[in-house]
């Protein structure tokens, strides 16, 4: 592939390559984006969300051999829209959509049209957000666009223009902590903005002829055929995941790494001459272990996991989960989002949700996931209940894309709000009321509860005067950090005091994966000293990452 560096015109072919390069560079760096946690919650999925969005966008043009840039950019926008996940992913999809709108009917673009398309892209992105927040991907895109618009009149080389654009985007990214205090306190730049910069950088690297590695599997498997996509390529199956520590002296990490790597795949060998951590996937777990023993060193923390069985378990679980677990209801049906068996059961059995899309804080479903769920149920009138502030936009996208159904969104920001809304649903749906009346009743019910969550901090930070250490428990009240500490019960107690729970009636503890009912009961016994006149209820939620999700009402 030879790119003419002074190119002044971009056609459909080049645009396709630019998208591919942006995707490849984002893929290469998306873990770095994930690590830019704005908040000490395991929410590190911005990079993954943006990557999934870009993958889906590229999938739409992967087999397209089309010189017309209007057509190619429209396909990119369509794919991005379908794959958009998380706030940053959705905003990214809107940038691509606005860009494509301006290119409609144009076979190619020059510097001027590029600047016009950038304007359209930023306008579209700002419109997509109800209250645009500065210091995010929006700011980075806007300031980058300003530079392009300013320079496009003097600079006709797309390479030069893109260079100026990337520099402007990078400068804007560095300013995000000044614009958004939450970033400054956490000592990071905005993750979505960083993801956007990586995409632009990838494009620039392509134009400069620099290496942009393209991962083999960067085209997303079609979600409908996920089982086929997951079948291991290796006839022997997925094999075993082997991890251990090697204690010795005068060990050579490079030699160990090379030897272990020859035995299997996904090799990760790190350490020094005295201590080495080995991680490798193999078919015969005996091989790497015997090798280490053969070196005359001590090994410890040996973990061998059968990935083939884990894979089969996952497939079984997913089939079971996807097979008609929702309630059959007449009239208006609800599609909601939850993770954890207990939560799923609660929504479908007790609260009559027609379908539960798997997801939540760490895995934001896309608009396409919602549309697929809507397709699965026969009802024509649908209410989407996202249960997370980062999923509301994807739900709204799905509502606007749905063709054959009337779809409304009840913007629940937490699981607790979702449950409160579902009570309004079960109370109104039996009476003869319209879709909009049910939507209104559910929306009104959102504030019937206070949402409190307990999770672990993923990094050390000082936040609103609360000192948080990595791994400590933190308590969030309606999404705001209010409590932290290394004792789970104490953090829950602090959290309830901040919520003025002693003035409320009912405290429901949904315990997560890794907790059990006995622990939850012990927590109630602990809390009852301070909250003697409140009623406690303990429910198995099974949600990941959050030991307790608590509703106070």
């Amino acid at each position: 592939m030879i790119i003419e560096v002074k190119k002044q015109i971009c056609d459909g072919h080049l645009y396709k390559w630019l998208i591919a390069a942006g995707l490849a560079w984002l893929e290469h760096n998306h873990e770095r984006v994930n690590q830019l946690n704005v908040f000490p919650v395991p929410d590190g999925d911005t990079g993954t969300n943006m990557l999934l969005t870009m993958k889906r966008a590229y999938e739409e043009i992967a087999n397209l051999n089309e010189p017309h840039v209007g057509i190619v950019s429209e396909a990119v926008a369509r794919g991005a829209l379908m794959g958009a996940r998380g706030n940053s992913g959705v905003i990214l999809s809107q940038l691509l959509r606005g860009f494509a709108q301006r290119l409609h009917g144009h076979e190619n673009f020059d510097a001027y049209l590029f600047s016009e398309a950038c304007k359209s892209a930023v306008d579209m992105a700002y419109k997509a957000v109800i209250t645009p927040v500065e210091g995010t991907i929006l700011t980075v895109a806007r300031l980058a666009k300003d530079t392009v618009v300013e320079k496009a009149t003097q600079e006709s080389s797309l390479l030069e223009l893109l260079t100026l654009m990337v520099n402007a985007a990078y400068d804007a990214l560095q300013k995000t902590p000044d614009l958004l205090p939450v970033l400054k306190k956490a000592g990071v730049v905005d993750s979505g903005g960083q993801g956007f910069v990586f995409i632009l950088e990838g494009m620039l690297r392509l134009l400069r002829g620099e290496v942009v590695t393209m991962a083999r599997d960067s085209v997303l498997a079609n979600g409908e055929h996920w089982q086929d996509a997951l079948v291991p390529e290796d006839e022997e199956g997925y094999g075993y995941d082997v991890q251990f520590l090697m204690y010795g002296k005068d060990m050579d990490v490079n030699v160990v790494r090379a030897t272990i790597d020859a035995m299997g795949w996904s090799t990760l060998v790190v350490g020094d001459d005295k201590l080495i951590k080995v991680h490798v996937h193999v078919h015969d777990p005996g091989k790497p272990i015997s090798y280490a023993i053969g070196l005359g060193v001590a090994i410890d923390d040996v973990v061998v996991e059968n990935m083939q069985m884990q894979y089969q378990g996952y497939v079984e679980e997913r089939i079971g989960r996807e097979a008609g677990t929702g309630a059959d209801v007449d009239g208006v049906a609800v599609v909601t989002v939850a993770s954890g068996d207990g939560m799923r059961k609660l929504f479908t059995q007790d609260l009559q949700a027609a379908h539960v899309v798997s997801g939540g804080q760490t895995m934001n479903p896309s608009a396409e996931d919602f549309l697929a769920a809507i397709d699965k149920i026969p009802n024509k009138e649908i209410i989407l209940l996202p249960n997370n502030k980062n999923i509301i936009m994807a739900a709204r996208q799905a509502a606007s894309l749905a063709r054959d159904n009337q779809v409304r969104v009840v913007p629940s920001r937490s699981i607790q709000q979702g449950i409160a809304a579902m009570f309004a649903y079960v109370n109104t749906r039996e009476t003869d009321v319209s879709l909009d009346e049910i939507t209104q009743a559910m929306t009104n019910a959102l504030n019937n509860v206070i949402s409190a969550d307990v999770t672990n901090a993923t990094r050390s930070v000082e936040f609103d005067g609360v000192a948080v250490e990595e791994g400590h428990f933190i308590g969030l009240l309606d999404g705001t950090l209010v409590a932290a500490g290394d004792e789970l019960f104490e953090v829950v107690g602090q959290l309830l005091r901040k919520a003025n729970a002693s003035e409320k009636e009912l405290i429901t503890l949904y315990y997560g994966a890794g907790q059990d009912e006995a622990q939850a009961r012990a927590l109630v016994d602990y809390l009852i000293h301070d909250f003697g006149s409140q009623e406690f209820e303990v429910v198995a939620g099974g949600q990941p990452l959050y030991p307790y999700i608590i509703s106070i009402e």
Binding site: K345, D350, T508, E553
Partner: protein
């Protein structure tokens, strides 16, 4: 048409306060309540309601109500007939209890033109209001047909809603089919029940009792302006008084607060509150 002297007979499920029963000379036939292997008469002496509800949670088996014997109903109806031109009998729904049948058999010695038997379709003071209004109209008009019309109009214009502090007794009773169904299986609920035509149906599932009481207030206000109001409770007098305060200006004069009898009480359980408003529209 000559002015007829009309007397009323009902059963203890009506929860009519003693002073009103005396004022209107209403004969109340006590039902039996069977629990812990013994049969008790719901007459305020053998069975004291407050005490009954305190014991209810620890009773090993679910108490049941039993109809009075035909001997008892016959005695009450015959006594009423002795000093009246006509007897109006208003009972607990035949769907729920054998009382209606016991009354029917107990009235068989009275000439049919001298007695009217009405299935109220209701329990507690929703049955009680039908009897009391019937007695008032009888005293005013002495006209059996007008009395029966008035009873029907009260029935059409009254509501009975109950808010439950717990689902436990509804489940134990097993009478309410939906209570055993899935809703409320994983999360506790404080249901609002609607009683109409002898059927108990869920009206709303609510998470906290405070919100359930708010819902009762809202449902009562929907019936305003009110001609009458009874507030019932199961061992929760202070809750009933709070509820009355929350109702504010829609509360009519002579509102009755009364402890509900065991027939409905065993199903709704201690702590429950209920409202029985009669809308002014019954008079039209």
């Amino acid at each position: 048409m000559t002015f007829k002297k009309i007397r009323f007979v009902t059963d203890s499920v009506a929860d009519i306060p003693a002073d009103l029963a005396e004022k209107w000379q209403i004969k109340i036939v006590p039902c039996y309540v069977n629990y812990d292997g013994e049969s008790h008469l719901d007459d305020g002496k053998d069975l004291v309601r407050g005490e009954f509800f305190r014991k209810l949670p620890s009773m090993r088996t679910m108490p049941t109500t039993a109809a009075p014997s035909v001997g008892i109903t016959e005695k009450a109806i015959t006594e009423a007939a002795q000093d009246a031109d006509h007897v109006v009998i208003v009972t607990t729904p035949a769907k729920l209890s054998g009382i209606y049948n016991a009354m029917r058999l107990g009235a068989s010695n009275i000439p049919p033109e001298k007695v009217s038997l009405v299935d109220s379709g209701m329990v507690t003071m929703a049955l009680g209001w039908q009897v009391i209004v019937g007695a008032e109209v009888a005293a005013e008009t002495g006209d059996v047909q007008k009395v029966l019309d008035a009873i029907q109009r009260v029935r059409d214009n009254e509501k009975l809603y109950a808010g439950l502090a717990t689902m436990e007794f509804l489940r134990r009773g097993g009478r309410v089919g939906w209570a055993a169904a899935s809703i409320g299986a994983l999360l506790q609920i404080k249901p609002i029940l609607n009683v109409k035509d002898g059927e108990v149906t869920p009206l709303a599932r609510i998470r906290t009792f405070g919100k359930a009481v708010e819902k009762l207030v809202e449902l009562t206000r929907e019936q305003a302006p009110l001609d009458r109001l009874a507030i019932i409770h199961a061992n929760n007098l202070s809750g009933a008084e709070d509820l009355k305060r929350q109702l504010g200006d829609v509360v009519p004069e002579n509102t009755i607060i009364i402890e509900v009898g065991p027939t409905l009480g065993v199903h709704i359980g201690p702590g429950a509150l209920g409202v029985i408003p009669v809308s002014k529209s019954w008079r039209q």
